[in-house]
Symmetry: C2
Subunit: 245 residues, 2 copies
């Protein structure tokens, strides 16, 4: 962008602002096609070069993308999902204006392997409960999770989860009223066939993987892995907010 | 693992522990091949089934991987890199027992686009300094970064960076003695050809992308994106450590 653009009347800028508001207002919803350059030029009474300049700023901001020969499309805005020591899936989604949903795909009770036992401060062979869940925002899958719970330490947890379908409620049933996330590890991975199918993504799509442990009074109550569809969710962490007393 | 494994003498367990120590001690360094199953069976005086059981626990823990027909290899352990409000690359790596290295690939001064200006609280067209850097752990590339600095607000920053090659020193030269990261956004992406070449990874490898802004007295001093080679770095965040007073 040349410096002179700030001196002349920035027509492209007001067009970009108008399109930005129209997208924000839902006039052009996610996935929809914007009017053609020719239509926009006619509507705003400018030449196509000016329209292209305005569209370029929307592309740079990740609001739209242009597909050669088919036009300019409104991108889905990834959901901002705050990382915090409390697991607040439903609240996070409602705060973002999305409809939260969670489906429990499977609940199994089996003996812990050495690595699983270590993560839950148990003995290998102790019973653990493993839950596989799929989370949704506005009916679109956003995350696949595998959570491990120390069944031997909290007998009845799996049954409580099977009937309540809520981890928080099931933990409360076995006497764990409150728990906090202690450590979270973040990495990136590639969707395998199963993950791709659950998350409705192409195989090989990038996934953000979090591994975290939750504790109650210093004792592990959950260890889990969550795979987020990276084009639909951005994890955020605000250092200052969380460090204020 | 059947429950009875805990009742009988767990030979496989002591073999796994021995191999684990040998790997930790550097007796089998990263990338090296472990002795064959037959060699290990002879050395420990057990059958190959027991050796296979021991190796399976090392595979489960991500310490080694098995390549059909070629043997079992020691995996590079990803570097644990703590996310914090202070950018402490050299210290983080030294704490992890790795040799830190950073190479500045390019430094350019140009006018800010609308999006760049917004992120740095500037006016589009204002001068910014953009630095491209590559970070190393023990001479292996681990992260590629693109950092934006408000040159117009801190004239001379780019020249200071060109001569000192250190962001902290260059900021100090223009009067920014201290700065903190305010917000970090995390997502996953796939390495393009340029990123793959710099990071010595195959194209399409998963990368962990962080976007963060640093401020000094409430004014942005840097906005940057960092692409981490996900198989070499795990970002960690300990809620409890950072929340204690």
């Amino acid at each position: 962008m040349p410096r002179s653009a700030n001196v002349l009347t920035p027509l492209w800028k007001s067009i970009a602002a108008t399109l930005r508001s129209a997208i924000a207002d839902g006039q052009y919803p996610e996935g929809s096609r914007l009017p053609t350059e020719a239509d926009l030029a006619a509507r705003f009474g400018v030449n196509r070069h000016t329209v292209r300049h305005a569209l370029a700023t929307l592309i740079e901001d990740g609001l739209v993308h242009s597909r050669r020969g088919s036009g300019t499309f409104v991108l889905s805005k990834p959901l901002d999902y705050p990382l915090s020591e409390r697991v607040r899936f439903h609240r996070n989604l409602r705060d973002a204006g999305r409809l939260p949903g969670r489906e429990i795909l499977a609940i199994e009770v089996r003996t812990a392997t050495e690595a699983e036992a270590r993560r839950l401060s148990m003995t290998p062979g102790d019973e653990i409960c493993v839950a596989h869940t799929l989370s949704f925002a506005d009916h679109t899958p956003i995350a696949l999770a595998e959570s491990h719970f120390p069944e031997a330490r909290h007998p009845g947890f799996a049954d409580a989860l099977r009937s309540s379908r809520s981890v928080t409620d099931a933990l409360a049933t076995v006497g764990v009223a409150d728990y906090l996330r202690t450590e979270t590890r973040l990495s990136a991975t590639i969707a395998n066939a199963t993950q791709a199918s659950h998350l409705r993504l192409p195989e090989g799509a990038p996934l953000l993987l979090t591994e975290s442990r939750s504790e109650s009074d210093g004792v592990p109550v959950e260890w889990g892995q969550t795979w987020f569809a990276s084009d639909r969710v951005t994890l955020t962490f605000d250092f200052q907010r969380d460090q204020l007393p």
